[in-house]
Subunit: 197 residues, 2 copies
Amino acid sequence: MLNNFYHFFQANGKISMEEMESLKSLYHREEVKKGDFLLREGGHCHHTFFVESGLIRMYAIDGQGKEHIVQFACENWLLSDRSSAYFDESSDYFIDAIEDSVVVMLDKGFVDGIIEVNPSFQRINERLLHNHIRHLQKRIHGLMAETAEERYLEFINLYPDLTLRVPQWMMASYLGVTPESLSRVRRDLAKRNFKSY
Amino acid sequence: MLNNFYHFFQANGKISMEEMESLKSLYHREEVKKGDFLLREGGHCHHTFFVESGLIRMYAIDGQGKEHIVQFACENWLLSDRSSAYFDESSDYFIDAIEDSVVVMLDKGFVDGIIEVNPSFQRINERLLHNHIRHLQKRIHGLMAETAEERYLEFINLYPDLTLRVPQWMMASYLGVTPESLSRVRRDLAKRNFKSY
DNA sequence: CGAGCGCTTGATTGAGTTCAAAAATCGTGG
DNA sequence: CCACGATTTTTGAACTCAATCAAGCGCTCG
């Protein structure tokens, strides 16, 4: 029960079980089924989501009604619309479950709370933010400089586990191409006797 | 002399001139001429750059030798390769001056130093990071969901001042299109009797 | 078992790139 | 202050990658 969650914070900040207990008013466990929403466009993102088990995603829907997946999050990942949560704005994004999942919902006060209990989390939070920035920057560079095929290869390299769990059309949406195009990319790779597994 | 710099921190954190003085070992003023480099690919980013006057840019060069501009920074903007600076990695980016500029170079210790002097800067730094994330996310969405024309219109709306100071081919590089394409976008907008100025 | 969803394939279209070259603008030294 | 070379912007034509539209296949789950 929330083993991943407790382990995540113990490993990162050497926080004790008792200290986590003292914060328990600032988080709660939630089970969600495939397809359930944790956030909808126009709503406010009141939580950061820690994925205890399962798989969730964040995505936007553009003017033409097309989905664009911003991020996946499986076990031990944190996901949140930081803009909405931090700036108290209504969100441009949807967050829903791709698989039946167990999610720990962290209140806005959680980060401050854990920093109070253990100040080293100040650093850890900062690191998470910098990591996020680095990741987004890579994504931008990929979209500007790389072909669909290159982006696909990077993705399966970086997230081999997700590749098996995420439907292909969602991966396409993450990569910024249509499902048809991704299908062709894969066919062409196969023809050039490229074996991934 | 560094009026913008002092004003920026006074306005944001109510820090006194004396307190800024106490940090003066952690920053220094530098004059750079158009074309001068502040950072090169492969180097380490040891500073955050505050633009006192002038205009600088950060960009990457891809496998085909093409430039991709990540960010512009004019007066009162901060610019840095956060990944390189924060994680002590070698940088993927170049930073150089588009105009003759006066830049305040902030040492890595500057942020910690100013937080020590005035703890409210902890919050301000966090806000800057969140803003950065929000901005990058918008950019990703633009690249995935919008046409070159839409991105161009957003840019001139958001940064009308930069539009006048940045050469067109650089704006193209920021928007993720070729200079030729941007030229055509502008011609077509003009033909549809769209007047910006 | 059938309806719907996801994946594939084919044909066509289209936004943006590439290559080439002309026109406009800039900047710098004489 | 002008002129000349370099850079920037524009235009044209051919091309390319990926999108769109349309159809068919196969699986699953209700």
